[in-house]
Symmetry: C2
Subunit: 275 residues, 2 copies
Amino acid sequence: MVAATKNITTAACLIIGDEVLNGKIKDTNSAYFAKFCFDHGITVKHIAVVPDEESDIVETIQRMASRYDFIVTSGGIGPTHDDITYESLAKAFGLPVALDEELKERMYTLGKRRIDPANHEAVAAQLRMAIIPSGPNVETIYIDPAGLWVPVVAIDAKVHILPGVPQLFQRMLDGLVPTLSARFPQTDALLERFYVATRLRESEMAPYLTRLQHEVDPLGIKIGSYPHMSIGVNTVSIIGKVAHKDKLREIVKDVEANLQGHEVSKEEEEKQSST
Amino acid sequence: MVAATKNITTAACLIIGDEVLNGKIKDTNSAYFAKFCFDHGITVKHIAVVPDEESDIVETIQRMASRYDFIVTSGGIGPTHDDITYESLAKAFGLPVALDEELKERMYTLGKRRIDPANHEAVAAQLRMAIIPSGPNVETIYIDPAGLWVPVVAIDAKVHILPGVPQLFQRMLDGLVPTLSARFPQTDALLERFYVATRLRESEMAPYLTRLQHEVDPLGIKIGSYPHMSIGVNTVSIIGKVAHKDKLREIVKDVEANLQGHEVSKEEEEKQSST
């Protein structure tokens, strides 16, 4: 039905919602998306948070869609006045919106409690959630057809519209894997990361790390360096393809030897990581 | 020294770092910035996370600087190869970079442990942290001159370059208040928010909330609606200027009456809020 089946190597995430920008709510969806993509070998190139304003949504999604292979949006698909994601994305891609009959049926069948039919305005508000972008390049992906009526609406097999509620966002993102995995990087292109902790200062590490990065550039391996101020330790990260695992292990040994460091597990390192 | 002293009403935040995009690190700085701005009556319009790549940094900061009054960047000002924020921002604003002698002196005086002078490469790496954008529209703001050698480098009295380490980011952002507060909104323009919790469904609330938003639009009051799926409750937020406090309190009563709800404290509501 949808033409585009381009392989997915790059990704971006668009968080839509005043509540994140005014500090009411901490966005956790973009971090979940970042981990999801890493685990599937996809490189996230951009995350943006925009208000519930059409012009901001339209401009940002158009820019993302022109550059990256896989984009998710989070938020703005409820029934209230500040939920304008479907209309805004339709506008961004020059599409009409229309009531989707299948979606409406699912909403009525699987929705937990029926709105009082005499409450016409509430019924109309609820139906807004079934008025979605429409056209041959739009798909509705039901990730759990028996239990969840909200679909992932996908445009151009590229932009995927997800809810902002974290439980739903996570469940629906994970639920996209069967649909998308054929376009994900192959197993030997998946990424692996290693960490080496050291008490050397970043300035002391820098010359060696610069040379190392230069040396491993051709293999697409990335060397990073992150201070943990509170515990006086710096961590070097080494990220590369699973296919280069032996080389990555060699680099870990080399970093340990050159920086008087020792390897730490992913769990240990990520426990104390926030920026 | 710096010409621009435009009042600050809008803001944006640029997080620079592969480590956020690849899921190693959870960005907490943008959420801290969002709360900071709310507390000072400033509206955050955009948050972006970009990789350690010059073209992404340049393009995003130029867009932000052309639109918003107050911008902070986070990350990329250390001594290692992946720290390219100063050079990239200089490029974005057509400025040279140069070794700042005062900054170098402070680094040497206040830095915790001197790099071995015989280690020329490490000394050079450390000095990279004192090579900053240069010109009449660049300021170095020392927020804690006796205890911290890292300055906030400000360009055009608009873009403020902060470190990514959260302890430093927070301290330095808070430390900017004395320098910037004269440009912040006045006391009666500060924002206040109230919350009303209800068990009504969002579809049932929507018609009333739409009318309410329309009615309070002229006062710049914003009505939001946020589901807490796990506890089956929806929260309405009412945000407006302190100067409109009586009106805001009136709206809270109105929302309670119309949505069978009850007011909840900010603490209560924000405890269970993440998206």
